[in-house]
């Protein structure tokens, strides 16, 4: 089953408690942050904490990312070397602007994998697009490496680079967000929507999550367990949606057996994209635990 990435929960790697409690809230992915959440003076201690945690803490089926410091900082390279050695399987690369940024990381990862006897290709990459140049190069970035599993939009840095502010209506972000969704889809990777920082405004968050889902995002960044719960609720298909999706998949299987070309379900034409969507709905339903395949 394709890995669901509905929620990307951010936790500072410098917080000892979060390193062993984040998984309680069952996000699909966790990002332990070594970058913006950690002060310069503590970059080393946060890295050591995360390394030790990775060696012993069981995160179950949750995909664990580390947001490393950018490779042009004094910390980035050491982050990669020590974390991959400690067992990190996924890296979030901040400030991706072009395919060369990704390839530079890829070369470093491969070197570290070789040094440590890790199978080449084990470590995956998530590219954070946080500047106008990054948005322009979104598709190029998304295709830059086989290791890429997702690209995400980082609204704070993006609006700052543009020289504008984030508004509730979000028009200033609309193009960047949809551009990232489309680039990801075209490249066959996931797209992750930006962070909603105001944890107390659940209403505003819910509206943005619905919007993200409608735009086609695979998932949403979260900064609090209550947000994780809410995203999963919104991304969980209703009984009706699941029913319809199963009908479509069933009909498609039948059609394949009988070698039919185009099929209709309930009077509507069903072609490949429709079947794909139905499969995604069932995958979401399985991931949310509201549907179990009968044997």
């Amino acid at each position: 089953m394709k890995k669901l990435r509905r929620t990307m929960m951010f936790c500072p790697a410098s917080n000892p408690k979060m390193l062993f409690t984040a998984q309680i809230y069952n996000p699909d992915c966790i990002i332990f942050d070594l970058e913006d959440a950690v002060a310069y003076a503590e970059k080393d201690s946060a890295r050591d904490l995360l390394c030790e945690a990775l060696k012993v803490v069981d995160y179950g089926n949750i995909e664990v990312f580390a947001r490393i410091n950018a490779l042009y900082t004094p910390f980035g390279e050491t982050d990669v070397r020590e974390l991959v050695k400690a067992g990190l399987k996924n890296i979030r690369l901040p400030m991706c602007e072009c395919s060369e940024d990704v390839q530079k990381l890829e070369r470093l990862i491969e070197e570290v994998e070789k040094e440590n006897g890790i199978e080449i290709g084990t470590v995956k990459i998530q590219c954070a697009i946080e500047t106008p140049k990054g948005v322009e190069n979104a598709y190029e970035i998304a295709k830059a490496s086989d290791r890429i599993v997702a690209i995400s939009i980082g609204a704070e840095d993006f609006t700052r680079s543009l020289g504008t502010d984030r508004t509730k209506a979000g028009r200033e972000l609309f193009y960047a967000r949809t551009r990232v969704v489309i680039a990801a889809s075209a490249a066959g990777v996931d797209s992750i929507d930006t962070v909603w920082a105001d944890v107390s405004d659940m209403e505003g968050f819910t509206a943005e999550v619905r919007d993200a889902k409608n735009l086609g995002f695979s998932g949403k960044s979260c900064v609090h367990p209550s947000q994780v719960k809410e995203v999963h609720r919104i991304f969980t298909p209703t009984k009706e949606e699941i029913g319809k999706a199963l009908e479509i998949i069933c009909a498609a299987k039948e059609a394949e057996k009988m070698n039919l070309g185009v099929i209709t379900v309930n009077g509507k034409m069903v072609d490949f994209p429709v079947i794909q969507k139905a499969e995604r709905i069932v995958a979401l339903a399985k991931g949310a635990g509201v549907y179990k395949e009968e044997e």
Binding site: P16, L19, K43, D44, D48, L49, E52, K55, P74
Partner: protein
């Protein structure tokens, strides 16, 4: 040289490592869970010192119930800071 890491906060530990000694390893632990985990904490500290090839050190810990991996990480960082090669 003295290196310090961590904080005197819930689930964390404040570690101070002084590598300017020549009397072997000495570990002082202050912890609310000293009766329950004191031996294990000392063992972990010694293991990290060994891994990082430190033969002489005076280590003090002010522990607030940190888990083992946190203690190891803090000792590691403190040793690196004491050695002066902080990145």
């Amino acid at each position: 040289m003295i290196g310090q890491a961590g904080r005197e906060k819930c689930d964390d530990v404040l570690v101070q490592v002084n590598i300017d000694t020549s009397e072997g390893i000495k570990v002082d632990i202050e912890s609310k869970v000293k009766q329950l985990f004191g031996k294990q904490i000392e063992q972990s500290v010694k293991e990290v010192l060994y891994e990082m090839d430190v033969k002489n050190a005076y280590v003090t810990l002010k522990d607030e119930g940190a888990l083992d991996f946190v203690i190891r990480a803090r000792v590691k960082t403190a040793i690196k800071r004491a050695k002066g090669g902080v990145k």
